[in-house]
């Protein structure tokens, strides 16, 4: 038999998850000199992962990355199999049987917990849920967020916290012409929230926002950005961090926070406060969140390695709504090892290993489930390219006598389980329907948030 990856013995690869890392892995395989057949699996009937369901509705330009993915999807080597959840509809073992290699790019769909009393009270939510809800992710469409309180608190100071804070700070008029889910727009229209606190456990020099995202808080129509000047005092180590030539990003963030501290935007209808060096220790309330107790912190450690330690003093905020935005977290998958501490599939340069570090043949990974939940869309491109390089280097070790069937075998299994796979042209029908539903509303699209409805649209148009 000819070598795997040649015309008479193509390399069959399954990719699991159609976010950026899945598409960039497909692109890297298509560009390789090998003859490949790629099936990209997605558990939802709609592709693009967090580019569709994470990136904020008021940041439409970033979603143009989708045009690149649509181009990749046109390649003859590429095939999309949506509405198929690996682990539920098709097992990892079945993929191993029908493909030479499998690349897991399933992202980080869960979230980290604070682990404090009261965390499960009503009114305490995760950013993951809220983001999924306003972005029309089918898993979160039925969530309820009670915005009838005046104060909302967001724990964490990364860009996701900035997204959540910005959506709460904007008026519906500022959001109406985006692709935000209709159900979210209705609830936001009734919002009574006037004060938003975005709380960091470390200081202003360690905030993880990027300056571009933070800057938007200075430009909102009815919401002012507020920082107490006293909170901008730095310890020596933080000063060293900000002076470091390579740390231009944090320097810009600090400059913006300093501008917020001197601005007069406190007269606006709403205020978004940025506050530092506080860790929540308890959420209190009879049946729902009423008060949040924080412990104040100081920083300890070398520059760029400072951690927050409590100083025994408390600080309280009365608030009816809390979002924890302290990071996403990967989920385990039956049939694969899982690094529970980091929430990733253990791997060496993208090649999945068992928990002892032994390489597992056939299994690779890229994106958030490989590295952990950080990095922006483009970060995943370099990452997927590296994983595919690793996979192609291993090709010589593959058993070329064993023939694989790829999608043909998968469709038989799906048929026996009565699972309706969604092809890329099926998705285009859903896409068109969303765009036309958006038109009368002046929105780029009105997302269809029910899986059943997606399937009906596909069936209806034959």
């Amino acid at each position: 038999m000819a070598q795997v990856g040649t015309e008479h013995n193509p390399l069959y690869v399954a990719i699991v998850g159609s976010g950026p890392s899945g598409f960039y892995a497909a692109e890297a395989l298509i560009r390789s000199e090998r003859t490949v057949k790629i099936d990209l699996f997605e558990r939802l009937p709609v592709p693009f992962g967090l580019v569709r369901s994470g990136v904020a509705p008021d940041h439409p330009k970033l979603k143009q990355a989708i045009q690149v993915y649509e181009k990749i999807a046109e390649a003859p080597q590429f095939n999309f199999i949506g509405n198929v959840s690996i682990g539920r509809d098709i097992s990892v073992e079945e993929l191993a049987r029908h493909y030479h290699a499998v690349i897991f790019t399933c992202g980080a769909e869960s979230d980290r917990k604070l682990g404090i009393p009261g965390e499960n009270l009503a009114g305490s939510h995760t950013a993951t849920e809220f983001v999924g809800w306003y972005n029309g992710h089918p898993d979160y469409r039925d969530r309820h967020f009670d915005l009838s309180h005046e104060t909302a608190v967001i724990i964490g100071q990364g860009n996701v916290a900035a997204d959540v804070g910005r959506i709460l700070s904007k008026t519906v008029d500022e959001l109406r012409h985006t692709d935000i889910a209709g159900h979210a727009l209705e609830v936001l229209a009734e919002s009574k929230i006037r004060r938003i606190y975005i709380v960091g456990r470390r200081g202003p020099a360690q905030a993880k926002f990027t300056s571009k995202e933070l800057k938007e808080f200075g430009e909102l129509s009815v919401c002012g950005a507020v920082v107490e000047p006293a909170e901008l005092q730095l310890n020596d180590a933080s000063r060293i961090e900000l002076e470091d030539k390579t740390n231009a990003g944090s320097r810009k963030v600090f400059e913006l926070l300093s501008e917020f501290a001197t601005s007069t935007s406190r007269d606006k209808q709403r205020q978004c406060h940025f506050t530092f060096l506080k860790s929540p220790v308890e959420l209190q309330g009879r049946s729902r969140v009423e008060k949040i107790i924080f412990e104040k912190n100081r920083l300890q450690g070398e520059p760029f390695n400072q951690s927050a330690v409590g100083i025994g003093e408390t600080f309280e905020l009365e608030a009816g709504l809390l979002f924890r935005s302290i990071g996403y977290r990967g989920k385990s998958l039956t049939g694969l090892p899982f690094d529970d501490k980091r929430g990733v599939f253990p791997n060496r340069d993208g090649h999945i290993t068992d928990t002892q570090g032994q390489l597992l043949p056939q299994f690779y990974t890229a994106g958030w489930i490989k590295r952990g939940p950080t990095g922006i869309i483009g970060t995943n491109r370099a990452d997927s390219v590296a994983t595919v390089e690793c996979l192609l280097q291993d090709l010589a070790r593959l058993d070329s006598s064993e023939t694989k069937q790829g999608a043909a075998a998968v469709y038989v299994i799906l048929n026996s389980k009565k699972v309706r796979p969604i092809s890329f042209s099926d998705w285009k029908k859903i896409d068109n329907e969303e765009i036309s539903r958006g038109q009368p509303l002046g929105k780029p699209r009105e997302k269809i948030t029910s899986i059943q409805e997606c399937l009906r649209i596909v069936e209806k148009s034959g």
Partner: protein
């Protein structure tokens, strides 16, 4: 708003930026790289990757580098796209040291 490559890239062409660009909007000539503003989605992924801090968001450009907005917009569409990392130009390391990085 757009994102632009400036003269620090000249003679060096480390292509760390290209590897993380989600939309392949870098183009190159013998000297350096340019960003096509029609294609760039302003995601800023490339900015921290550049070892010589050659890339800026338009709003952050120093006054004496404002002319690069026009240069990028004019040059990029006429030049070949750079979709994968390339070898740095000879002398790139020396140039990086000379720029103080």
């Amino acid at each position: 708003m757009t994102t632009v490559v400036t003269d620090n890239c000249r003679g060096c062409r480390f292509t760390d930026c290209v590897a993380v660009c989600p939309v392949e909007c870098f183009h190159y000539d013998d000297e350096m790289l340019y960003i096509d503003p029609e294609v760039c989605i302003d995601c800023s992924a490339c900015i921290p990757e550049c070892p010589v801090q050659a890339i800026f968001e338009e709003d952050d450009l120093p006054e004496d580098k404002r002319n690069w907005v026009k240069i990028n917009a004019e040059k990029a569409p006429e030049l070949p796209a750079c979709s994968e990392s390339m070898e740095p130009l000879p002398g790139a390391e020396a140039r990086k040291a000379e720029l103080g990085f």
